[in-house]
């Protein structure tokens, strides 16, 4: 994958994600993590190679959902209308969508706020709306590009626990991008460690810990062990990436 400037953004990234799997891309900024997600979402096309993802052959736009680093909500629309958007774009009326939206809003704990506007919500709540919007179309693939990077640590940890609840048992493939080692360990089955310039996957670490996981996982020895392993792999990837070509 090259940018228009000719900058090589990604090099020989080869990865597969199974349905119902939670995979995290971990790497320093500028390593092309987000570009991988854009490729999977069909929002970018590779200059070489192929991408096989549901978004490629999907005409209806229901297969894939994307959560951006910012909540990316329509500021002029209520929480309800924001969550309605994916269904609305597929031609569902407000009435038809109502029960689905109500269920999703209850799931993310925002039932009372369905008539609020984004500006009235906290950062964490806005992100919940953003995730609700992603979940409402029941996607096969859920792509998340550092969704919690701008939130404080307490909110981030709570959202991590909740995110696993929403994903677990949904037979939905989740791809999560972060530069936070603890977050990667807590969430994923598999962590792909990326190096920069050009971006590539340099290591793969499995987190052997059964789901459902809750906050207590963070206190276990296994968790710390995984963090250590992953941190080491990230350091190595980084030093490789910094070497002059």
């Amino acid at each position: 994958m090259r940018f228009e400037s000719g900058l090589l953004a990604l090099q020989t990234v080869s990865l597969g994600v199974a349905l119902g799997e939670f995979v995290t891309l971990l790497g320093p900024s500028g390593c092309g993590k987000s570009t991988v997600l854009k490729l999977v979402a069909g929002l970018a096309t590779p200059s070489e190679g192929t991408v096989l993802s549901p978004a490629q052959k999907d005409q209806t736009g229901r297969s894939t959902a994307f959560v951006f680093q910012e909540p990316t909500l329509l500021p002029w629309a209520t929480v309800f209308d924001n969550v309605w958007l994916p269904l609305r774009l597929q031609g569902q009326s407000r009435l038809d969508a109502q029960s689905v939206i109500a269920r999703v809003l209850e799931q993310v704990g925002l039932s009372e706020f369905h008539q609020s506007y984004p500006a009235q919500l906290s950062g964490g709540m806005k992100m919940r709306v953003s995730i609700a919007r992603a979940l409402v179309s029941k996607p096969e693939v859920l792509l998340m590009d550092e969704p919690f990077a701008a939130l404080d640590d307490i909110t981030r940890q709570r959202l991590n626990v909740d995110l696993l609840k929403w994903w677990y048992g949904q037979s939905m493939a989740a791809m999560f991008v972060t530069h936070n080692v603890a977050e990667a360990v807590f969430l994923s089955q598999r962590v792909l460690v990326m190096g920069a310039r050009p971006g590539k996957v340099v290591a793969e670490v499995r987190i052997e810990q059964p789901y459902p996981r809750d906050a207590s996982f963070r206190q276990t020895q296994a968790f710390l062990q995984h963090c250590q392993t992953l941190g080491l792999a990230l350091d190595q990837a980084n030093s490789v990436g910094m070497k002059p070509r």
């Binding site: 929002l43 999907d58 736009g61 910012e70 990316t72 329509l74 500021p75 597929q90």
Partner: protein, 251 residues
């Protein structure tokens, strides 16, 4: 605005008028030099029917020009937003129209456009449409790239993209432009009529001011001016309320 906020400006206004009245009375200034506020009101009452007719003429031109400026500004902005090459080709023309003083162009327009009313309308439109155009262009451009990606991901049609994303995100910019254009269309219509110097029954407040100045009926000039000021303030207030209402509904 709260009542407390209204007190200070009102007090200043009343003090100024009172000072003016007392000064004219004390210095015995003749009415044709500087009429006292009471004399202006008197003249307003005396010439009420002729001033009212002219006022209505000016209001008609102003509001029509504003309406056409909204229409034209938005349409041209939409074309510019859809086709950047059209914008590159035509934007300089819009700038030329905007920077040329309307007083200087008005005599030419009056030559080429037969109907005085249409000429006045055109002049006012030229002055009024630019802020709406440039603001709306910026509004249509200033889109959240991620939102655009989101619409792409969900396979939104161009029509959905326009109505659900582009139009609502351009609305605040458009309204800011309309607020500027409201005042400008009044200025444009009055300026053009000053240049036209039209006489007769079907004329606006600018003609009344010219007429009164030829006859040194200074109180009547002030009376017509008072109506113009009131009209401008009314337009400003109405547009403010309208835009606040629309934006509240929309955010």
């Amino acid at each position: 605005m709260k009542m407390g906020n209204l007190f200070l400006p009102t007090a200043v206004c009343v003090a100024l008028l009172l000072g003016w009245e007392l000064f004219v009375w004390w210095a015995k200034v003749p009415a044709f030099t500087l009429p006292a506020p009471s004399a202006v009101i008197e003249s307003l009452a005396a010439n009420w029917s002729s001033l009212l007719g002219s006022w209505w003429f000016t209001v008609k031109i102003t509001l029509s020009a504003l309406w056409l400026a909204c229409l034209g500004g938005v349409l041209i902005a939409a074309v510019f937003a859809l086709s950047p090459s059209t914008e590159r080709a035509l934007f300089p023309l819009a700038v030329v129209l905007q920077v040329t003083p309307i007083v200087a162009v008005a005599p030419l327009i009056l030559i080429y456009v037969e109907s005085t009313m249409a000429a006045l309308l055109l002049c006012a439109w030229i002055v009024a449409f630019f802020p709406i155009l440039s603001n709306t262009v910026i509004g249509l451009r200033s889109l959240d790239k991620n939102l655009l990606d989101l619409f792409r991901l969900y396979r939104a049609t161009p029509w959905q993209r326009l109505t659900l994303l582009r139009a609502p995100s351009a609305l605040p910019y458009f309204l800011a432009g309309v607020k500027i254009s409201g005042g400008l269309s009044l200025i444009g219509s009055v300026t053009a009529e000053m240049v036209a110097g039209a006489a007769g029954r079907d004329t606006g407040l600018a003609s009344r001011i010219l007429e009164a100045s030829f006859r040194t009926e200074t109180p009547k000039m002030f009376a017509a001016l008072l109506l113009l000021v009131a009209t401008g303030v009314m337009i400003f207030l109405i547009l403010n309320v309208l835009s606040r209402k629309l934006l509240k509904e929309n955010s």
